[in-house]
Symmetry: C2
């Protein structure tokens, strides 16, 4: 029994990595290890498979000594096997309070940011987390309960950007059997202790009821998921074809050809998915679709766009930005919110800046020479006629040309925001710093501004 | 409040019928009414909307007096409103026992067969049942739990053939509010008293838990369902395109072009859906897909077909029918099972036969002159060289030509079974009677045989 469980798990693990093309044997991987059962098993499988990896542990400092002991446990575990180990600690509660996030959201953001920075620093290919099949099942049930299209039914993705989940093939029971058979030591997982009421309800009450109907629930879901993922990717392909077939862009407006929409099978749903990007919701999309066969030229408004109907086209135009007023930023401001965008402003050291240069680059973070700025700074939407000197260039460039070169899509163009000092543009927010304000050899004080989207309004 | 609930329900009902194109105001409808809350509400809405309909009630005789009182209740309800009423009674338990069906399956089969016969007799367009949104939600959760592709996630269809479900927009709570506000009388629904453990578990335990997460669960699901149905019908369209693109038929074999499968997005899943028809299961399909890029010419076997791989094609051929042995049928046999097909054999009256001629025609039922038969009868698969005299014709016809004319697809052709008397073919089962055995003016005794598929083996 023992050998079977252990060999079977390793075999399934390698098969899954191969089938899902998660990574190749030469890839190097940052392995997220909390010290809980799931991540201890993932670590053990990585070790057995002799993959190239560094263990990364986050101490969220949420449970006092216990948190420190978790970190120590993972450190010792790595030391005993000669596995490279990195750790960090976060002031999670302060961060959550400052950014008005739930503890869970704050931990999530801190964790993934650090993993990504570490991956870049080490020049590794991937970050692996220990999400398993039951996590995925809970996600599907949660999405279904809260409302979803096809993408919410496919579960947790095995690969998304740099993140991979090589344990998604395994059920919670598989993991527990493996831990028991191999007699692995582990620590009570801090994420399980989290207060996620909805997920716990699904895990502890709903799933056990469903297992009364089908004791083999997890493996059935693995097959459901495989099928739904196939259908979802097929649908995404069709959706791209639809968008291409209906769209014409002209004069800062998007024209959607009504005849094509009407003749497309399930055109109503394809239209809904298309209009979502422009901020129109389910009910508006339904009403817009119904209006296609009517003669009236009613206008519809989302938070960001206006849609009008003429004879042959639906015409989508960005809303005039009159609602976006200029906001002044006093010296010493630490955080500020502006139409779904949150800025975190801090003075930082030359060392931090050099460290940043050596590791991650992130266009959502601005580093400027603090002495070049005149307060109050101002934040406002981009206007026709604006220009700046893009970092690394010598001449002026019109913002409009800059956006065209960057191929920023129409519905995001008008949402571009600027940070200004007097009348000069310091930063095309989230996109490019101005040459005149950059940090140089002579810089004495550095101001760091991190722009984060807090709502969909600016997400496009 | 009262007026709002009532008017709101009627409005939603009419909107739903219109949006789903269920029927037009001139259509005539058989309305299935058990006397329970759901069907009483459906009846009331049909009455308020002044549609053309006849109420049909089935007495399954499962609960003694209660069943009779249900029938009487519905009869009186119709009489008081001047609504045309039809009723029938079934010996459900005997039927279930004789046909080895669960009580629930037996009731279902009897019910839908009678509704359809009634619809044809009255020359009506549709049969309406009172399934509601919560029934659909339970179906989705049940399918998800037991394993499904996209088609199990779309819930109960509002329209399928002649069956329509105009109450699918309403939640159980909507129905209960309407009953309360209109003070409608109703009888405890016999279907609710059924012993369907799985459905009751979902209804009484799982759904209430999900409603703790989302109290508006039903309306959220209505939107999920709308989206999934759009995706499903889009997928079915793509699947047809796929089948067309990969298939070539020749010499009784089907050739599937490997290159096209490999280049098709999500080709593995499209192949699985295609091979399902030929009896290949999930695991076989996966293995077949994996074999596409290998050079070996391994063969795969389903219950009915063999799949082999050559350089450019997957080749599917029907299996030689050596496994299907001839079965002898003695006089007096009432039921018999033969490779997924169940035959019910009974002596019947001239009146039954005349009644049948006046109402429904069903190619799954054979009526023959009993005196023309020589026992033991025999049942066997069709073979090359077989011929018969199709009912209504004067000359012989080869079975092979008959199947070609009827455009029976390849994978079903070899599954065609024959009922024989001595060496003569009496019935191409489920397809056509032989002229020599037909019921005539001089017939004294009639044998009736009903062929029902009990498993997928013969379903194709």
């Amino acid at each position: 029994m023992q050998k079977y469980v252990i060999a079977g798990m390793l075999h399934s693990f390698l098969t899954y990595i191969n089938e899902q093309s998660l990574f190749t044997p030469t890839d190097k991987i940052v392995l997220a290890v909390s010290g809980g059962k799931d991540s201890v098993v993932l670590l053990d499988l990585f070790r057995e498979a002799k993959f190239n990896f560094t263990v990364a542990h986050c101490n969220f400092q949420l449970r006092g000594k216990d948190s420190d002991q978790d970190a120590e446990f993972v450190k010792q575990l790595c030391a005993s096997h000669g596995i490279p180990f990195r750790a960090t600690a976060f002031p999670t509660q302060t961060f959550a309070r400052n950014h008005k996030l739930s503890i869970e959201m704050a931990a999530r953001q801190l964790r993934y940011e650090w993993f990504e920075a570490l991956r870049k620093e080490l020049d590794y290919q991937y970050i692996a987390t220990a999400h398993h099949l039951n996590d995925s099942i809970e996600t599907i049930l949660l999405n279904l309960t809260k409302g979803t299209g096809i993408s919410g039914l496919r579960g947790i993705l095995a690969k998304k950007g740099y993140i991979i989940r090589p344990l998604l093939f395994a059920s919670r029971a598989d993991i527990e059997n493996y831990v028991a058979e191999k007699q692995l030591a582990w620590r009570e997982d801090s994420s399980n202790a989290s207060n996620d009421y909805q997920r716990n309800l699904l895990r502890n009450e709903v799933v056990p009821l469903l297992k009364k109907i089908n004791p083999n629930l997890e493996h059935t879901f693995a097959r459901n998921i495989e099928r739904i993922q196939a259908i979802e990717s097929n649908f995404q392909k069709n959706l791209s074809e639809f968008k291409k077939a209906i769209s014409q862009e002209a004069n800062d407006a998007l024209f959607l050809k009504i005849e094509v929409i009407q003749n497309w099978q399930s055109g109503a749903y394809f239209l809904e998915e298309t209009l979502k990007e422009f901020g129109f919701n389910y009910f508006q999309s339904k009403e817009i679709y119904r209006s296609l066969c009517k003669s009236s030229g009613k206008a519809f408004h989302s938070g960001t766009h206006t849609l009008t109907k003429d004879r042959e086209y639906l015409i989508i135009t960005p809303k005039e930005e009159t609602t976006f007023e200029e906001l002044l930023i006093d010296k010493g401001t630490e955080t500020l919110d502006y139409y779904g965008l949150q800025l975190q402003i801090s003075n930082t050291s030359i060392e931090d800046w050099q460290n940043y240069l050596n590791t991650a680059r992130n266009s959502d973070i601005l580093w400027v020479d603090a002495d070049t700025l005149n307060y109050p700074l101002r934040i406002r939407p981009w206007q026709e006629g604006d220009w700046f000197i893009p970092l690394g260039m010598k001449g002026k460039k019109k913002i409009s040309d800059f956006l065209v070169d960057k191929k920023v899509p129409l519905h995001l163009k008008k949402k571009t925001l600027l940070l200004c000092s007097d009348d000069d543009i310091v930063w095309v927010i989230g996109q490019r710093t101005d040459e005149r304000f950059k940090v140089t050899q002579g810089t004495k004080q550095i101001l760091r501004i991190h722009a984060m989207r807090t709502a969909n309004e600016f997400a496009g």
